[in-house]
Symmetry: C2
Subunit: 307 residues, 2 copies
């Protein structure tokens, strides 16, 4: 089950611009996860303007929409942003909530069998509303959030944190949430707030997975061109949880594999505007990309300093 | 053979300050390399103020000083810097060249058997002067440099680049040297200038090794506290080349191990002010730290997406 936005984006990067392309956290997550598992049960809200062919393309990949509110007279959430040369910083130009302002998620009965749940970046109160409706204890609940909610809704955010297994944040968000500069200390502080697992996403520098005292560091694939980073984090999350749902194995060793899978999916996402690249992927593409990650990390170390 | 500075530093970090501590690229490199190989043959210049006990401590580790000019009436190179909270940015407060202004390296006859050579960050003309004096072709010449030389001595720097096997730079230096933002493109452009191997150091984000079309990504160890990053790059270089000299194996697979060894040595360096931590290390400490890196990177991936 994926809870998040399905939206339109207008994007400008140093490499070009698009005025209107499909976006939203739940859209990216579903595209990524659909390579690994189905059905994927979406919870979102869209306006009558959301293209039927986009829904059909996702439906073909095993994505279900019973939990998606359609407001025929409403307009879908719209975000417009401009990236700087380093692709890590961006300016939000326009944020039109539109139908998202009235998002009141209802979890359908047919969704209650979901074992793997992704709470996309949303108002913490809405994330709580979803958690309150779950009748069974899922095997894994992961959440995303952002600095904005830390600024204006920290109390509610802390309530969400107590009830999830894993949180994904970027490095600056981890620092803000914990008040710690060292990411090791930040992860410990966030673990104390609830989630057993912390993933700290560092963009072109990879990702760190923390669990207890264990740390795993996954690299990002060095790319010739990063065309558009929009959706990379949601794509990471979708690949990560999709792979875990497919393998149904929550051991730390499998979690580490899932982090690499998520990183591989994100490395595709940034190659073209919006979810364009995600729609083209084949199983062979993904296997080859994962093999590139294996090469990138491969080292065989056995040292002895005895004289 | 290590060519570089032996100096005094005054350091201020968010965690404290020291007014006068031993520093210099050749000092850090020698401390790191001495865990793996000896003799280490230094080429540097110092004033009469350089403490005899520091030389004695290095001598005990197998470091030789025939190539070190001592100017009894002169003062050793002095650098003073202040680090900001992120520890990646710093202000140089004072740079007193002192005897370094008259550095005119003479390679002693007894150094001509060196197969592994580290050219520390120095005026490119001085690096060239060293290369001109080598009578035999070493197995490996590595070099360090900095943005300052790119600004004021790019032509000479390019001459050095043509004559070395490996260059180590940080990410912003790689971008400046190549004029490319993407590190993949930057590495290709720098390879075209001469060195077959490029190491891009990314501080807390680890390091990338490029060779032909191959890339290896080594993580940095996430640390609770980075106390003082001074000398971390030189310590990395010393650990890297020291391990290669010890194993005398220049295969790409051994180069990758050497990058991890260098990263492990750098992770010690930052734990205390100046080279303090480097002086305490035992073989057991190093083996345990390398094992932590192995854990940090360890993942066993075998995926098949066939349905």
């Amino acid at each position: 089950m994926v809870i998040g936005t399905m939206a339109f984006d207008a994007l400008e990067t140093p490499f070009g611009k698009v005025d209107r392309i499909i976006g939203g956290s739940a859209t990216y997550a579903a595209w990524a996860a659909s390579n690994f598992v189905h059905p994927i049960k979406q919870v979102s809200i869209i306006g009558g303007d959301f293209p039927e062919e986009e829904l059909a393309a996702l439906r073909e990949r095993g994505v279900e929409f019973e939990g998606v509110d359609v407001i025929p007279d409403g307009k879908s959430f719209f975000w417009s942003g401009k990236y700087h040369m380093d692709m890590n910083t961006r300016d939000s130009l326009i944020t039109d909530l539109n139908v998202l302002a009235q998002f009141d998620p209802k979890i359908p009965e047919s969704y209650q069998d979901c074992d793997y749940i992704m709470l996309g970046n949303l108002v913490p109160a809405v994330q709580l509303q979803v958690l309150d409706q779950l009748q069974n204890k899922p095997k894994l609940i992961i959440m995303d959030t952002m600095n904005f909610w830390m600024d204006i809704a920290m109390d509610k955010l802390k309530e969400v944190l107590k009830r999830v297994d894993l949180i994904m944040v970027n490095d600056s968000e981890a620092r803000q949430l914990s008040g710690e500069y060292s990411l090791v200390k930040a992860a410990k502080a966030i673990q104390a707030m609830g989630p057993k697992y912390i993933i700290i996403k560092k963009g072109e520098h990879g990702a760190l997975l923390f669990y207890g005292d264990k740390i795993f560091s996954a690299p990002a694939l060095p790319l010739e061109d990063v065309f558009d980073p929009t959706g990379a984090g949601d794509t990471f999350a979708g690949g990560f949880i999709g792979y875990l749902a497919r393998t149904d194995d929550l051991s730390f060793s499998n979690m580490k594999v899932a982090v690499v899978i998520g990183s591989a999916m994100a490395s595709f996402c940034v190659e073209k505007f919006g979810p364009t690249r995600m729609k083209e992927l084949t199983a062979q593409d993904i296997e080859a990309r994962v093999a590139s990650f294996v090469d990138l990390m491969d080292v065989d170390i056995e040292i002895s300093l005895a004289v």
